[in-house]
Every structure is written in structure tokens, then in C-alpha cells.
């Protein structure tokens, strides 16, 4: 069964401690993504890591800022490189302005496919160019972004076909027309169901649906049901 949990930013924007605490209280959650999407959150989150109780989580990843406003690129990199080596560092491609710097992270650098507001990293062709630049990097497939680019999910299948050997984790949520992360709706579930059987059973699922903590169980139920169905199809095949 896939390790599963939420991004702290999805459950408690700007309050990572709450984002951790509400997940520790749910026994089904065994994965977590610590999120510092806005760069002013980065310092506080990294400083807090030693005192965060992460024992419940068998998988931990860290989402780098999506863009830098207050911090310089080098300063951000220096902070991120000090994270535990086993934690993948999820990064949006447009953060990586100086490739030589980020290549030092090797496979810890985990590139995420983008939504349609960005100008790169959206399709398999664009991702392959990025992975040529970062040959050791791993891959975070955001299936909501992939669906926004192509609701038939052909793009997602192509990404899994071409980049599946790099796959480190999934981001799961519905993505709205303006890039907003939403709970899984009916049409999103239909679309995701087309690819869940292609996801390995040990691939961590990080839910990015922005929901209040009292909706955690419902969203977990929805995601688990989807991926359990995928596992059944995989077993039959």
C-alpha cells in the first residue's frame, strides 16, 4: 500500500507545526511533505525541524519555495542542502536558475511537473529537456497538474512511460483553472482512475488538496479508494 499523507501547506497554510500535528493524529497517515512554498517560510521551517516530531512518518519530503522574493538563490540552496539526505527536495523547475548549483543535490533534487501557468516543465517533452540539465534528479508527478494540461491523462501516461524510473512521489489534488489545489471532484477521480494502476504500490502519495483538518478523513478515503482500485487492476493484469 502506498505511503500517504498531506503537504503541510495544504492543511495549514503558513503554519507547518499545525500541518504536522493534525497529521500525526491520523493513524492512516505515514507520509508527509513539509512545505515552504513561500520563501519567507523557509528559515523558520528549517530551524524548527529538530523539534518537529516526525516519527509517525516513514516518508518525509520537503517542498522548496516556488519562487524567491526575499532570499537569493544561493542562500536558499545552502539552507536546503542541509536537510536530511533521505528527504527528497521537491522543486519547481523555474526555481533552478543556476543549474550547476542544484545539480549538487544529485537524486535528492526532485523535479515536479508544472501547471499551465508556467512556461516549462508542463509536458513530457519539456520535462525531458530539464532532466537533461539535471540528469540525476528524481521526479514528482503532480497528477493534478498533468490533468490540467491534458484531461485525457495521455500526458501523464507519457510522463510515467518516459520518466517512470525517476518517479519518487506523487502530488495528488484536483487543480482548478487558475492553478488552485482543490479536493478531488468527480471528473478528476474519473481521470485519475486511468493511471493509478501504473503507479507502483510503494510510491508515496502526497495530497495537496487544500482542505480544513476535519476533512482529512474524507480526502484520504477518496485517494485511497482510487489507488486501491489501481492496485487491483495491476494485480489482475
Amino acid at each position: 500500500m502506498n505511503p500517504i499523507g498531506f503537504s503541510t501547506g495544504a492543511l495549514a497554510k503558513g503554519d507547518f507545526e499545525l500541518g504536522v500535528d493534525v497529521q500525526r493524529a491520523v493513524s492512516r497517515i505515514d507520509a508527509i511533505e513539509l512545505s515552504a512554498l513561500r520563501d519567507h517560510e523557509l528559515t523558520a521551517l528549517i530551524e524548527a525541524i529538530p523539534r518537529l516530531d516526525l516519527d509517525n512518518f516513514e516518508y518525509v519530503s520537503f517542498h522548496a519555495p516556488s519562487r524567491l522574493q526575499r532570499l537569493g538563490e544561493t542562500a536558499a540552496f545552502e539552507m536546503l542542502r542541509l536537510l536530511p539526505e533521505t528527504w527528497p527536495i521537491i522543486a519547481h523547475p523555474d526555481l533552478l536558475q543556476t543549474p550547476a548549483l542544484w545539480r549538487q543535490l544529485g537524486s535528492r533534487l526532485c523535479l515536479e511537473n508544472m501547471d499551465h501557468r508556467k512556461t516549462t516543465g508542463r509536458t513530457v517533452a519539456e520535462l525531458k529537456v530539464l532532466f537533461d540539465t539535471f540528469p540525476e534528479a528524481t521526479f514528482c508527478l503532480d497528477i493534478g497538474h498533468a490533468r490540467q494540461i491534458d484531461p485525457t491523462m495521455t500526458c501523464a501516461i507519457l510522463m510515467l512511460q518516459e520518466l517512470g524510473n525517476r518517479l519518487r512521489q506523487l502530488h495528488v489534488s484536483e487543480v482548478g483553472p487558475r492553478g488552485e489545489h482543490l479536493p478531488l471532484g468527480a471528473t478528476t477521480r474519473v481521470a485519475f482512475a486511468q493511471i493509478t494502476h501504473l503507479i507502483a504500490g510503494d510510491c508515496p502519495l502526497i495530497i495537496e488538496s487544500i482542505i480544513p483538518p476535519d476533512a482529512i478523513d474524507d480526502e484520504l478515503d477518496a485517494v485511497i479508494a482510487l489507488f486501491d482500485a489501481g492496485a487491483s487492476r495491476r494485480a489482475i493484469a
Partner: protein, 295 residues
């Protein structure tokens, strides 16, 4: 496209409505007129905002229209994105999903999956027959005005769109790689078949026809009949005087009109090449057209 062509542009909207779309569309119209001085056609099919909803959801059935059918088939066969190509790609994928994913044949007893998307093929044939019928309708409505140019377009450029559509619909037989047939489940198979067809939407009709002509036993002769003829057609419609002549010639004067009569003769050579390609010479097309093209 020749220097006398208009530009059949649309502002494709695949998302929430925004009043600003109208302002952007007006600006696009102005900018395109600066590059392509001929006004877009009077029917309103192009030169407008086009939301994706009708293109994807109103395929055949009571809510489809000539306008929607034309936009849909031209989007597939000869469109290019001036900006944000992912929007065009996404809408095309959604349309092809309707044709391929959501209209599957009953599986055969052997378990072999279908390679021919009948819904797409039928819509392509329907489009060709519709424009051929509309030619007569416009003759009636416009009392023969502009008859000559529409007639030669039907013989060449409209027919070329039909050829593109037939070849694209036969992609699963003509261009499939072995990987397509190794896919384990049906959903993925049909997604990949749709994607194979989508890749043809990035190939111009002339290039796609050339691709299959090259597979013929008599490729040089057939290619000469098709492409030399088409080149002559383009040459005539690109010539200001000849085009004006075609735009004004009357049906009753057709046989005495040198420009029209020459193109009519050339169109027979073009048709002969196309007929050899589809009915005689290509290693697969004669079987496909015989099996799926009519009955």
C-alpha cells in the same frame, strides 16, 4: 496558403469565460488584418471566440452544427497555435478522446482491439460530404456568386482535407508502432491510439499525403499526379488576375473560361493520383478504404 488567402483564425477558450476575451479577440482580428489583408469569411465560423465546450461535447447529434463541424475538423486537420500551443493540444486531445475513447467497437472474438475509430472516420466522411453539399447550397443561396473559386477549392484544397482525415483515421493501421499493441489494458490502448492520431494533427495535409505516397510501389508517378497538380492549383489561386477571374466566372461561361477549364483538367489528374493511392497502389489503403470507406 497563398497571398490571396484569408486567415481563418479563432480565439480558443478552454476554461472560464472572461469578458476580456472579447477585447482580446478584437485585437487579434486587427493584428491579423495587418498581416493578412483579406477579411475573414462572412459566415462567422472564424474570426471569433470559440469555446471548447461545443467542440468537445457537440460531436454529431442534434446540437452539432455546420459551423461547429467545420471548426472541429479544421482544428484537427490544419490548425496551428499562434500562442500557448498547449491549449490547442488539450482541446484536440479531448475531441479525439470523444472519438476514440468513448466510442469503442465491440471487441472481436479473438480479443484483437480495433484500430479504426469509426466515429472519427464517419465524421470525416460526413464533413467531406457536407462541404460538397454546401457547395450546391451556396450556389443556390448566392445565385452562383463566387461559384468558380468554390468549385476549384472543392476539387483540390477541400478534397485534401478529406484525404488528411482518412489517413489520420487510419493511423492505427498505417503508423502504429509495435508498442501500441503491447499495451495491456484497453483504456491505455485507446488513449495511445488517440495520441497516435493526435500526432497527425501536427502534420500538414500535404505532408501526411506525401508520407503515404512514399509507401506506394509507383510513388514517383502518383506523387507527380498529386503534387504537381496541387502546385498548379496553388499557382493559379495565388495569381491575382486568375483568382479574380475564378471569383467572377459564371457557370454558363465555365467551359469557355481558360483559367477554370485548365484547373478542371488538372483536377482530373489530381483525382486520378488520389484514386490510385487509395484504391490501387498503396500496400494498405486499398484494403482499408474497401473495408471501412463506404459500407
Amino acid at each position: 496558403m497563398t497571398q490571396r488567402s484569408d486567415a481563418d483564425w479563432v480565439l480558443l477558450v478552454d476554461g472560464p469565460s472572461d469578458p476580456a476575451h472579447a477585447i482580446v479577440a478584437q485585437e487579434i482580428g486587427k493584428r491579423i488584418l495587418e498581416v493578412v489583408p483579406k477579411e475573414v469569411g462572412p459566415t462567422g465560423t472564424f474570426g471569433n471566440i470559440v469555446p471548447s465546450h461545443e467542440l468537445v461535447h457537440y460531436i454529431a447529434g442534434t446540437q452539432d452544427s455546420n459551423e461547429n463541424l467545420t471548426r472541429r475538423i479544421l482544428l484537427l486537420s490544419e490548425s496551428r497555435a499562434l500562442t500557448n500551443p498547449l491549449v490547442r493540444e488539450r482541446i484536440i486531445r479531448n475531441i479525439l478522446a470523444r472519438y476514440v475513447m468513448y466510442d469503442r467497437s465491440v471487441p472481436s472474438q479473438t480479443g484483437a482491439r480495433g484500430t479504426i475509430p469509426h466515429f472519427l472516420l464517419n465524421d470525416i466522411v460526413r464533413y467531406w460530404r457536407t462541404i460538397a453539399s454546401d457547395y450546391a447550397s451556396k450556389m443556390w443561396e448566392r445565385r452562383g456568386k463566387g461559384w468558380g473559386i468554390r468549385n476549384v477549392k472543392l476539387r483540390f484544397s477541400r478534397k485534401l482535407l478529406f484525404l488528411w482525415g482518412l489517413i489520420a483515421a487510419f493511423s492505427g493501421e498505417l503508423f502504429a508502432t509495435p508498442e501500441l499493441h503491447q499495451v495491456k489494458n484497453d483504456e491505455e490502448y485507446f488513449l495511445r491510439l488517440a495520441e497516435l492520431i493526435r500526432t497527425q494533427t501536427d502534420v500538414s495535409p500535404l505532408d501526411l499525403v506525401a508520407r503515404v505516397v512514399l509507401e506506394c510501389e509507383h510513388a514517383a508517378a502518383i506523387g507527380d499526379q498529386i503534387f504537381t497538380s496541387y502546385d498548379k492549383f496553388l499557382g493559379v489561386v495565388a495569381d491575382t488576375g486568375s483568382r479574380k477571374n475564378l471569383e467572377s466566372v459564371r457557370v454558363e461561361d465555365a467551359l469557355n473560361d481558360e483559367t477554370y477549364d485548365e484547373l478542371r483538367e488538372v483536377s482530373h489528374t489530381f483525382r486520378e493520383g488520389v484514386t490510385k493511392l487509395f484504391f490501387d497502389d498503396h500496400p494498405k489503403l486499398p484494403m482499408l478504404i474497401r473495408k471501412f470507406g463506404v459500407f
